[in-house]
Symmetry: none
Subunit: 242 residues, 2 copies
Amino acid sequence: MSNPSSHILIVDDHRDIRESLARYLTKNGFRTSTAENAAQARQVLKAASIDLVVLDVMMPGEDGLSLCRHLVETNQAPVILLTAMAEDTDRVVGLEIGADDYVTKPFNPRELLARIRAVLRRMSNVPKTRDPIETEKLRFEGWELDVNRRELTGPDGVMVPLSTGEYQLLIAFLKRPKMVLSRDQLLDLTSGRTPAVFDRSIDNQVSRLRRKIEEDPKNPVLIKTVWGGGYTFTAEVTEPAE
Amino acid sequence: MSNPSSHILIVDDHRDIRESLARYLTKNGFRTSTAENAAQARQVLKAASIDLVVLDVMMPGEDGLSLCRHLVETNQAPVILLTAMAEDTDRVVGLEIGADDYVTKPFNPRELLARIRAVLRRMSNVPKTRDPIETEKLRFEGWELDVNRRELTGPDGVMVPLSTGEYQLLIAFLKRPKMVLSRDQLLDLTSGRTPAVFDRSIDNQVSRLRRKIEEDPKNPVLIKTVWGGGYTFTAEVTEPAE
DNA sequence: GGGGTTCGATACAGTTTGTTACAGGTTTTC
DNA sequence: GAAAACCTGTAACAAACTGTATCGAACCCC
């Protein structure tokens, strides 16, 4: 990322919201500051250069509301409000409108992130940071797996339907080719389940998957058994979009 | 934005709403005027060229509805009514009189903005000013969902009617594409209902939605089932204004 | 080769899901 | 207002999926 990251101020009286939101935004390339109340927020605003404020209106005291109005009228920083769903809407709505945007609680962090970027882009033409592109297809030995559609196509062009378990197992293999994966690892990778004693569900899934992708399931080529160790996917895997 | 902005007249007896709404619309590229009552509104309408009127029906003095009727009959300007909650008599009367749209109080400012743009676009082919925040249409796999009108148009251009439940379910999916959503999550996102034991209403809604948007409902592509997990919307969702 | 362990395939049962039918409620229409 | 149409949750059954059990075969080490 070449452009300098923007500085977001988070004002909320709930400690966990402050912290998790700050962590999330930091992870997405922003610098963050937090404030517990309007007074703290004013101090931060004086001390640092804040590009955008995420503000919870429903804080003890009227200060949150007046802070919002102050920021908007002095044009100090754009404001995104966090509002509760069913509150004294008549009064809140009037004040909400002064903000640049608002998000109702409980909110989706990704949505908030998108709105922050939208406001920043609108305010000062900050270049948008692109989300990483997910690879869409994985190829191996003439097979092609469309990751998004969860569709597997064979060398002959015939589509092979996969169940959720088979799909997850195949993905686990394709992402770690030529690696010996124990049953416990595979169990964790596919279902996240805690390995029970004498759990042979993976054996079954492997067997079912072999029946679908191996030319001769009796003599498997793609998925080899490692005696006492687990299974290995032997073929080369290519990601076209990589 | 190159096109000249439209001029909106806001008629409301609440000072807070007038001012904040005017600020909000100005920030989004409109010129605004305000009036405290119907008499003032008539004066403004004589003096300036007004493209659209946002009118509160509940005002002391001359009834807002008679002003609305007058505006429509003389074809002076399209009208969007602000109506109080829970009174569908207002709504019915307002639409009979010829208001172009209505918004119930307490209203969502973004929704009002979207409706203003929709009415203007519909009335006089005013070039649409892009809303950087609220997307009006969502596209996926050749489909197009008009969020404001709740209209879904297929790849063949045929409009598919959606019930409220189907619409909310689709919105929930479109806002979180490629994310596995459990039945409880979907239930909360669509109806806010508390999940009951053995609640299979989501299954039904999914089935009904599939029947409308999937080419082959037996082999769904857009809405995939995640066994033991819920459902996932697999397609890319694009927001034209983005 | 023998004994113990591990693996593959089948069968089966429990769970989850798709679909249809239907009743209660709501909205629309006349 | 009454009737029709529509919407939505519940019930019920068939189909799909997955874990466990089982048995015979393969494997390792001695």
